[in-house]
Structures are given as structure tokens and as C-alpha cells.
Subunit: 202 residues, 2 copies
């Protein structure tokens, strides 16, 4: 297997997932800033033009970070990161999606539309970026409330939802386009999650 | 179990999933236009304020349509709609996410930002809606190419990815904010998918 990737929050999600599983995969750098992901050669690997992509030994390409994680979970079920009982599977998916769709995506939209980081390949709309920044901040209390009740986002067990949220939170702090409200429970949880070996290994 | 819901593409995704599984669940109407989903009572069920939400008999609430589908799949594994082998699980997730993130979400952003449908509760940015409409249309050939090679989006088997894409395509046709390019393979596939009993039952 080979992981075609570029430094990004999504690559980091997969790296942490791999480190939690104790899985190592050969990595191939893709030059996103130079537009390598938009070339016909790359689009044959991933027609969506995104990174990372996992190349299987049979020549299949798996795009989408969460799809790569599901593949790795199916090959290496322990430690479990996507839930085991029906209810846990559902709660992990719910919080993974909330972390991704309600928070991470709004942070990303704020970043891309306010800074115009990808303006050579998309049309940034600053006003929408500002709206997205407000929406991202408005969702913070939902996560903070949950982490006041449970150790990890989806309950007692560390899961992919924690990986997504911790990376999105770190990214938000780094790009500084979202005014993050005080969130003491998130800070408590973040200190624990960031101390995991997988977070420094990758 | 009870499904709290309002007529929407997301409710329809869950209904079709249920019909494919042969599962019936009591339905409770939520008045989205009247803002019932923004009340404290509803937010105790789903702090994200979204529908549908599945209420389990133990009082747990599962938000996010795809999380509800994963719960139903875990309870009723056959017919399988989320993949069985590691590779199939990954390909279903990849196409499900592409259908959702690359197409459905851009259609939804175009609709909400161009029409201001939810302007009582969010700030529509028309220019961003127009950008989203273009992006949604630009992704159509990716799906059309795939459906020129495989019977269903993720390969030989009907999956949740087909449900998401068919509903998103129907929604795009209905709200008319995206100029959809010709897509003969999508049309071939859509005729087959729309003819499934689950699509008329729900």
C-alpha cells in the first residue's frame, strides 16, 4: 500500500489513525500548492483531485480520509476507533459527522474564503468565510457541553470523532480565522487527547 | 424507536434505507419551518438542531442521517448497504462521501444561499450560492464517468452512496439552482435506482 498525501489536517487525521492502530504505510508526497493534484495523472488516482489517497496493492485507489480509516479499521479492528456495538457505532458516526460538518468544515470554509488560500483554483467569497467563522464558533458550546458529560466525544472510548475534532480545533487555533469562545471541557479533553503517543508520532 | 423528522432530502435518505431493510419505525413530525428544531426541548434531543433524529428505547438520541443508517445496518445487516469486505466498505464510504460532500452539499449551499430559504436563521450569501452551484455542476462528470464503468456508484452492489446521490440529483432537479450538464450514465443509473420499490415506498 502507498499513501499519496500532502501536509494537511486530513493527512494528519489518517496519520493519527494509523499510529493508533500501529500501522505503517509508505508515503508519497503530492505537491498540492504546485497543482499536482489537478493533473490528469493524479486525477486518474482520485477524480475528485483531493489528498490523501490510499493505493492498494491491487491498484485500487481509496480517496477520502474517513474511507481510508474505515479500510484500516476493517483490516485491523483493534484498537477499535469506529465503535463496536450498534449504539456505539451510531454515536461515533454522529459525533464524527458533527465534528466534521458542523465544526471542521466551517473552519475550513472560513479559512479558504477569508484568506483566498486556493484562489488560483476556486472563487473565494470573503463574506461567506466570515459567516462560516461565526457558525463554527456557535457550534463550540455543543462540543464543550458533551465533553462536560463524557470523557471522549462519543462516550467512554477514544474514537475517530476525537481525532477529527482535535485536529480541527488545532487547525482553527493555527489559522486564526475563527474567534473561539472559552471551552473549559474541550481544553480538558484536548490536553488528554494531545498527550496520546499517536498525536506526537505523526 | 421513534424517528423525529421533517420532509427533507435527509429524511428521504433514511426512509429509503429503512425500506431497503424492511424496517418500520414510528415517525414524529418536527415543524422545521416553524422553528421547532430550535427550541430547547428539541435541542435536548439534538443539540445540533437538525432532523432527523432517531430516539432509541433507552432514551438515547441518534442524530445525523448517516449515523441512523449505520445503526439500522448494525441491527439488520442484510441486505447490506454499507459494504462487506474491507475494500467494499472503503469504496462505499468513498462514494457516499463524494456524493454527499462534493455534490449534495454544494447543491444545498447553492439552494440555501441563492434562495435565502432559511434567512430567518442564517445569513445567506448569494455569491457563495452561485459559486457552489458551479462547483456542484463541475463534479457531475466524475459521477457520470464512474457510472459508465460500474452498475452502481461503489461497484456491483447497490449501496447508501446510490441513495445519497439519487436523492441529491432529484433535489437539484427540483430546486433548479444548479445547471446540470448532460449525464447519460447518471440517467441510466437513475432510472434503475428510481425503479426500486424503496424509492416509491417512502
Amino acid at each position: 500500500m502507498k499513501l499519496h498525501e500532502s501536509p494537511s489536517p486530513n493527512a494528519r487525521r489518517v496519520h493519527i489513525f494509523m499510529a493508533e492502530k500501529g500501522v505503517e504505510i509508505e508515503r508519497v508526497a503530492v505537491d498540492i500548492r504546485g497543482g499536482e493534484n489537478l493533473t490528469p495523472d493524479y486525477k486518474a488516482k482520485n477524480p475528485a483531485g483531493r489528498v490523501p489517497v490510499l493505493e492498494l496493492d491491487d491498484g485500487t485507489f481509496i480517496g477520502e480520509s474517513v474511507a481510508i480509516c474505515r479500510y484500516l479499521e476493517a483490516l485491523h479492528p483493534q484498537p477499535n476507533l469506529l465503535g463496536s456495538s450498534a449504539k456505539e457505532i451510531a454515536l461515533v458516526e454522529m459525533w464524527q459527522r458533527r465534528a466534521e460538518l458542523n465544526f471542521m468544515m466551517n473552519v475550513a470554509m472560513a479559512f479558504r474564503n477569508i484568506t483566498g488560500f486556493f484562489k488560483d483554483r476556486e472563487t473565494p467569497v470573503k463574506e461567506y468565510g466570515e459567516v462560516s467563522a461565526v457558525v463554527a464558533a456557535e457550534f463550540v458550546p455543543m462540543f464543550d457541553d458533551q465533553l462536560g458529560k463524557t470523557q471522549y466525544l462519543a462516550g467512554d472510548n477514544f474514537s475517530i470523532a476525537d481525532i477529527t475534532m482535535a485536529i480541527a480545533w488545532g487547525f482553527a487555533g493555527q489559522v486564526k480565522v475563527v474567534e473561539l469562545p472559552a471551552a473549559p471541557n474541550i481544553e480538558r479533553w484536548l490536553a488528554e487527547v494531545n498527550a496520546r503517543p499517536s498525536f506526537s508520532a505523526s
